[in-house]
């Protein structure tokens, strides 16, 4: 327990002194993860909603596939993205390997199925409620999708949060495609992995605390927003 408390103290010290390397790493973590989750939402929300709201051939297969892909091991995603972005891979000429963009791509691949699968579950209930009314009003497919997503927006925030949680905590994929290069692609999780491998367990744990606090703050903010929406029956 001693090392636990000293790790907590070290975390406090790092935060209070506004360690510039730490700020850079946190900044990059947030930039990569928020961008990846945003893109994952742009792709995953409509896909999930479409699977929930429309009948089409292969719908069940797609739903099962999305659920299965939620469990994709990050290392596998990292390898796939590495092989794609490697100089010898199909997208090698873009020169994206070992850049934050590569990390965003990997996390997007990782998070999109999560967003889509959870969106399907959220929208399915809402669609059951709205389907007959929308059919009566003659709402077009695209408008139905938009209305379901908009009316489910507060519930869907939890979906985005789940994606955020997965992405911000993920190390296996970003360390492969980012390379954990100092001042270029080093983020919270790869730093924790590096410090652990250097045997600096206290520093690693301290960084872990900071990561936890960030995740907690993001979750608390979204939950507060949702709670206020529930009071107005918008959620």
């Amino acid at each position: 327990m001693d090392s636990f408390w000293s790790a907590l103290l070290e975390a406090l010290h790092l935060v209070i002194t506004l360690d510039s390397d730490l700020l850079e790493i946190i900044g990059l973590s947030m930039q990569v993860t928020i961008t990846a989750v945003s893109i994952a939402c742009l792709i995953g929300l409509p896909i999930g909603a479409a699977v929930a709201a429309f009948r089409f051939p292969g719908r069940t297969f797609l739903a099962v596939l999305l659920n299965a892909m939620m469990g994709l091991p990050p290392v596998v995603v990292g390898l796939l993205v590495y092989l794609t972005l490697s100089a010898s891979g199909p997208l090698g000429p873009l020169g994206l390997l070992y850049t934050p963009t590569a990390m965003i791509i990997a996390q997007t691949v990782l998070v999109t199925p999560i967003v889509a699968a959870l969106t399907r579950q959220v929208i399915e209930d809402l669609n059951t409620e709205y389907a007959e009314q929308f059919a009566s009003m003659g709402v077009r497919a695209a408008d139905r999708l938009a209305a379901l997503l908009w009316d489910g927006r507060y519930a869907l925030m939890t979906v985005a949060l789940a994606g955020f949680g997965r992405a911000i905590a993920e190390v296996g994929a970003v360390i492969i495609v980012g390379g954990n290069i100092n001042h270029v692609t080093r983020v919270m999780t790869t730093t924790i992995a590096l410090e652990t491998s250097k045997g600096n367990l206290q520093l690693a744990l301290a960084l872990g605390f900071i990561l936890l606090v960030i995740a907690f703050a993001v979750n608390a903010a979204v939950m507060a927003l949702r709670a206020s929406a529930v009071r107005t029956a918008y959620a």
Binding site: E129, Y130, G138, D143, A147, D151
Partner: protein, 263 residues
């Protein structure tokens, strides 16, 4: 529509001026089964343009199902539905509205709920906003404009869904027991809105269990029993002097056990 005099509550006559009005919607030999149970069997009826037609019958008679089939929400197994003399194409729904027993309102403000419905019909901008404000004003809901729709009382919610159904200027309005869950004051408010719409010429098709409401609103009546039309004709006649056994039982408040019962 035409020389329809303004109706008042309790008006009972089957409007003689409608006797010659053509059917706006015709149902011919409509049959629908689910899980091998026949829910509607060879149902035929006419809905006269501008009329107020009641669909009545005991629970499980197939009233709500018939309403959904007429509105095109469900496809029949057999039979035809004709809209103004033509096979009921999907565009016909553009001229129809429906109010469900439990109002389905979007998780938005009162204004936004109407805005969505009118947007579906292609209205935009100031034209749309003006129309929404006028509709809310007519229904006495203007002060609730910015309120989240789902925090309204049950009666207000149903009034809003009726206002929404009428805002798109339908030619026919289907209502599925719209006042089943409401208190007398809210019921009265809904009935007034229905009568106002009727006075503007909107054809009304109403499923109800409420005999008082049937007497207040009914012109034509279709009585369903076990998925078949038991009796059809002017509402007042049927309700005061029923001819068929099922309707007699229903008016007396008995459960009709069917022709086979007791044997």
């Amino acid at each position: 529509m035409r020389d329809l005099s303004p109706e008042t509550e309790g008006s009972m006559s089957t409007a003689p001026h409608l006797a010659h009005s053509p059917p706006i919607l015709t149902v011919q030999d409509l049959t629908f089964s689910a899980q091998k149970t026949v829910l509607l069997n060879a149902v035929s009826l006419n809905i006269r343009e501008g009329s107020r037609t009641l669909i009545m019958g005991p629970n499980g008679a197939g009233k709500s199902l018939l309403l959904r089939l007429m509105h095109g929400l469900i496809k029949p197994d057999a039979g035809t539905i004709t809209w103004k003399g033509r096979a009921n194409a999907s565009e016909a729904r553009r001229f129809q509205s429906m109010v469900f027993q439990r109002p389905v309102l979007l998780r938005r403000s009162v204004f936004a709920n109407l805005s969505f419905a009118l947007g579906v019909h292609g209205l935009r901008g100031k034209l749309k906003a003006d129309k929404i404000r006028a509709a809310l004003h007519d229904a006495g809901l203007a002060h609730l404009e910015t309120r989240p729709a789902r925090v309204l009382s049950g009666g207000q919610q149903q009034r809003l869904s009726l206002v929404r159904a009428l805002a798109t200027d339908p030619e026919i309005l289907f209502l599925d027991e719209p006042t089943a869950n409401l208190d007398p004051a809210s019921t009265s408010a809904i009935e007034q809105l229905i009568m106002k719409a009727s006075a503007r010429g909107v054809t009304i098709v109403l499923v109800t269990h409420d005999q008082g409401q049937a007497k207040r609103l009914g012109e034509d009546l279709v009585f369903l029993q076990d998925g078949e039309v038991a009796e059809t004709g002017p509402a007042q006649t049927i309700l005061t002097a029923p001819q068929s056994e099922p309707v007699k039982a229903w008016v007396d408040g008995r459960i009709y056990l069917g022709s086979k019962a007791g044997y």
